[in-house]
Structure formats: structure tokens, C-alpha cells
Symmetry: C2
Subunit: 220 residues, 2 copies
DNA sequence: ATTATTTTTTACCTTTGGCTTATAAAATTG
DNA sequence: CAATTTTATAAGCCAAAGGTAAAAAATAAT
């Protein structure tokens, strides 16, 4: 049974909000995320339940089923592969890719994704540093910490961002904090949690705790 | 005003049936092409008229407007660019591309198409030899004749096929009659119009008039 | 433990898109 | 001008996606 575009988007949101199926997700939160009314969400949950991609017990909560998880991961995989394609092959800026990938992720063709994956050389992470599930839905995630949590003199490599709004990505671009940049915490202000960071052994920059808590680092 | 996917498909069909806006196209033909009932077509024509992509006078006929032509060519352009991508970059066989391109052509993003075009090196023809309109809708078409119409000893190059069903394309693949192949008419049977053809100065093959009338040749 | 509040669900409605059948009207043909 | 064919309209169906208002369940507060 095929999912509609809206259903795929709900399922993706559920998967993300539930933190890959760990915690339970509330109707209200989902409504906020999807920018719909809770009533509409209830309705959608019923439908997703009928299609057996979630197990839905009313007034209680929901759980993604195995097949649901597979579908969600499949959609995420497609989204992220397309993002890699857009950035690496078509030279999109990393803040321009989201909307287009949002459309491309709903193209149905297993062969296409298989070939695209191979063409891109089986990338494991997308341009935002998020892991790309393989065709069986397995995710190779790296342990990562928020930059805001790091201590003075600790070093690492920027591997992902939490906020991927265009505004934030453009800001990062401007200051030179790209994915893959090697960083070192030079100073940390106790008072407001702001940081001084060294990027790639050269550029120094200050950032607020606000910003730093949206940057994920692989420590080294 | 945006067109829906169905509307885009109708418009494309209208454009094709009308031979790029030359002849008028009948409701019945369009119904046959779209595999719908004539009543549904009338309805759709009314809607397309309201959106001003065609000029529709009932019981009389229709004409594609400038903006309609632009949109149709835009869709055709996207379809053919994606076909080039699928064949050249993702190694699709030329009989596997159609359905996927049919989906991809409805992705909305001018930037995407611009970049894709550049990435593919501004191709002028798709894998079936059909011309790709440029971003202004201009088409660089080559004068071409049906192979079935050629005379003994005439030569040329296969540039397109009329029937692009998977079955036909696979047949052509098998006998080695790909787009770009240089051919020469060795013999022609008056009785049934069948031909003997030389391909690339080496392979000889026989084909029925049926087949030959679906192959388009740029004479030389 | 019984209210009060919040969250969730139901029941019902609305819109849009795309299609169908049956009927009517126009155009074309004999 | 009658017969036939082609088109158009009217009415209706269905699915998808959403909304409002009211009911029901769960949770929190006194």
C-alpha cells in the first residue's frame, strides 16, 4: 500500500520527533510540527494506523512499526542523497537545498536511488553532516556533542548542525564554519556561555551560546 | 497561477498533438491520448482556459496561448534534461528512463533546471534524439526523414525514434541501431517496403517498413 | 477523590482535483 | 434536412487533506 506525499511527510516528522522511535510523540507536538490542528493529526494517525506504518492506540500514543520505520528511513535516505547531489554535483549552496530535496524525496524509483547512491560514491553523510541511512535503513551515526558543551582547549571537527534554516547556514558560511572544519575552543565566558573558537588553525571567531548549541562536533 | 501535475500533463499532450501549436486538436483525440473520457477532457479544457494557458472556444477548438506554450516547453525541457541525466550520469538504459523522467519533470525549481542543464553541458538532444528546448523555449530541431522514406544508397545518421515504447527500444538496442549510428540503405524491397541497412560500415540488417517508419534519420 | 484543566478524539463540514455517466446541444455528414 | 458524430453540461462520486465544535479521556490541582 502506497503512501501519499502528506503521509510520507507525517511519517518523517513522527520518526524525527520520536527520536528514531525511542520516545513517544504527542498529537499536539506533531500538530505544531506539521502546522496543522490536532484534530487533523488524529485523523492522519488513524489513517497511518490503517496502513500499518504506525501502531496507534488512541489517547495513549503511537509506535512506529518496522515497516513504518523502513519507509521513514527510505524517505530520509532519498532526501539526504539528493542533498548531496545538489551540493556536490550541481553546486548548490547548502542553504539552498532543502526545499528542492523536499520535492525530490517523493520521487518513487528504487532503481533511481540505487544508481544515484552509486554515482555519489555511497556517501555516508549529507551536506549538513546528518547520516544517510543505507538501503536497509541502517544508520551510521557518529557520537557528537554540542559545541556549546565543550570546554576550553578541547578540539574537534564540525560534523552537523541542528538548525538548518537558511539564515543560520548563511551565517555559518560567512564566518567560515563549514561542515568538516577543525575547531578548537580558545575561551569560554562563564557568564553567558559564549565562546571563542579557532577554525582551521587560523581564523578566530566569537559566537554566542545560542549559535554554539546548534553546532555539533565530533571531538578529537 | 500554478498548474497541477494533471494539468501539466494535459498541456504537454495538447502541445504534442497540436504539433507544436500548428494544427487544432480534438477533444476525442485528447481523451484517447490521456486515456480518459471526452467529458473529462472538456472539463479540463475549461480549467486550462480559465488559467489562460489555452484559448478555448467550445465546439470549435483550442489554441495554446503564449504562456501555455512556454509552460509546455518548460515541462518538455525538464523531461528531456532529466532523461539525459539518467542515461549519461546514472547509466540508465534508454528504455528505462521514461517513467522516472515523467515524475522528475514535475519538480518545480528553476534553479535546479538551470544547474542541471549546465552540469550536463547544455545538451541539445535527449537520448531518443528529441531536441531539448532552451530556457526560453527555443527548439533547435534538425530536419529529419523516416528511414522508410529513404532510397537505395542514401546515407545518414539515426537521430530519433518515433515510437519510444520499451519493447521497440530494446529491439533497436539488440540489433545495434542506436541514436547516432551512421546508416546506409543497401536495398529496398518494393513489394513490402522492407529495407536492408548497413550500420556503422559493418553490420547489415533487415527491417520491416513498420520498423523503418519509426526511425528518424538526418540525411547526409 | 473529586474537580478542573489539558490533551486527544470524534463527528461533521468544506474544498479541491479529477474523474464518471447520462443527457443535451452543436457540428458535420449523407 | 435528417442522421450521425462530436462536444459540452449537469450531476454526482471519491479520495485527500484540512477545519470547527463538541465529547471523551487523561492528567493535574485542590
Amino acid at each position: 500500500m502506497e503512501l501519499t506525499v502528506a503521509e510520507e511527510n507525517y511519517l518523517k516528522a513522527i520518526y524525527h520527533l520520536s527520536d528514531a522511535g525511542k520516545k513517544s510523540v504527542s498529537t499536539n507536538d506533531l500538530a505544531a510540527e506539521m502546522k496543522n490542528k490536532p484534530a487533523s493529526v488524529s485523523d492522519m494517525l488513524r489513517r497511518l494506523g490503517e496502513k500499518e506504518v504506525i501502531e496507534y492506540r488512541k489517547y495513549y500514543g503511537l509506535q512506529i512499526t518496522e515497516s513504518g520505520k523502513r519507509l521513514a528511513l527510505q524517505t530520509i535516505r532519498k532526501h539526504r542523497l539528493w542533498e548531496v547531489f545538489l551540493v556536490e554535483k550541481l553546486n548548490f549552496a547548502w542553504d539552498e537545498v532543502h526545499e528542492v530535496a523536499e520535492q525530490l524525496e517523493h520521487i518513487h524509483s528504487p532503481l533511481l536511488i540505487q544508481r544515484l547512491d552509486a554515482y555519489l560514491n555511497f556517501p555516508k553523510f549529507d551536506p549538513h553532516g546528518d547520516p544517510i541511512p543505507d538501503e536497509f535503513g541502517d544508520v551510521r551515526s557518529r557520537p557528537r556533542v554540542e559545541l556549546a558543551e565543550m570546554e576550553i582547549n578541547q578540539t574537534g571537527q564540525i560534523v552537523a548542525v541542528k538548525d538548518s534554516s537558511a539564515a543560520f547556514l548563511r551565517y555559518l558560511d560567512k564566518v567560515g564554519a563549514y561542515i568538516g572544519a577543525r575547531i578548537k575552543v580558545l575561551d569560554k565566558v562563564e557568564f553567558d556561555g559564549s565562546l571563542e573558537i579557532q577554525v582551521d588553525q587560523k581564523k578566530n571567531l566569537f559566537m554566542s551560546k545560542e549559535v554554539a548549541s546548534n553546532i555539533l562536533v565530533l571531538q578529537s
